[in-house]
């Protein structure tokens, strides 16, 4: 599965550079530490006086310790660069992250819309009653061409019942009577509508 792809020169050289840095830093840490341990060995025969040798050994250990720390710091920088490269160029994981995010956003949107739809259904019921109350009161100022919601529902129900059964013709007539009387006497329509519909509904 791991076929060798022809990478662009920049990416390939970048990855080779990472490899080189890794090898160099690990080698630096190991070599410098080994040399420190070797230098720590006390030798009886020295070419210069003991104080001078001690001073030299001290300075050498200091430099090698600094080299180890520098190599460690360079390795941390390498890890940071690898993280950056991974985030930008690791396409399988980027695709996974994008699809997961899309899935979460879509589920949130669906949940929001579902709740809005259920809210709409609940409010429609209350709005029906409110409109019925309002348009049958003496405060309403609607014109006959503009159907209120309750009237629209009643007419839709009457059309549906007339299609399904013939026993509702009396109900239709009473609906029409109710509609006619609504213009004349709005307050009575409320009672008539409730009285007739409760008896005529199958």
């Amino acid at each position: 599965m791991a076929t060798q792809r022809v990478l662009p020169q920049s990416k390939e050289s970048l990855l080779q550079n990472y490899n080189k840095r890794l090898k160099d830093d690990i080698k630096s840490i190991m070599d410098n530490f080994t040399e420190i341990i070797k230098t720590a060995k006390i030798e009886d025969e020295t070419q210069v006086s003991r104080a001078t040798q001690a001073e030299q050994d001290h300075y050498e250990m200091h430099v090698r310790a600094a080299n180890i720390v520098r190599a460690g710091e360079s390795l941390m920088k390498l890890v940071s660069d690898l993280k950056q490269f991974l985030i930008l160029n690791d396409f399988p994981s980027v695709n996974d992250a994008i699809s997961l995010q899309n899935q979460q956003l879509r589920s949130l949107q669906d949940e929001c819309d579902k709740k809005l739809t259920s809210l709409r259904d609940e409010i429609a019921v209350d709005l029906y009653e409110l409109e019925e109350e309002y348009y049958s009161s003496s405060y309403s100022q609607w014109d006959t061409t503009d159907l209120p919601l309750c009237e629209a529902f009643r007419r839709r129900d009457s059309w549906a019942s007339s299609d399904s059964s013939c026993s509702s013709t009396q109900g239709d007539q009473e609906y029409m009577d109710g509609a006619i009387t609504q213009e004349v006497n709005p307050t009575q329509h409320h009672l008539n509508g409730h009285g007739t519909t409760s008896g005529d509904k199958p």
């Binding site: 791991a2 792809r5 990478l7 920049s10 341990i37 160029n89 995010q101 809005l116």
Partner: protein, 120 residues
Amino acid sequence: MANERLRSLEDVEKEIATVLQCAGNIVLELSKDKQNASFLDRQLVQFQSSVNRVESELSSQIRYLTQVATGQPHEGSTYSARKDCQMALNRAEYAKVKLGDLGRTCEVMLEQPQHQQQQI
């Protein structure tokens, strides 16, 4: 998953710190007049294992990147799903505003007859 790779790189960072810590402890122990041999052995073993782990983990990450990386930039985005979600939240907010208005209107209308009755 990318998170696992990033977490393993963070573990590598901790291992590098362990390497330096072990090296320092070994040199510190060697500087004493009387050294604890078992402590030195433990620290040395930990130093070597940490160095090997760092090298192997970073090599495997670089190998994986060599296999996976292309020269192209990634052009995927979550913009459309985010926009749709934002619109859904806007719809909900709008419905909330409208319901608030309706509620206030009903309260105002309910207060008015009470005022009229009080005036009478």
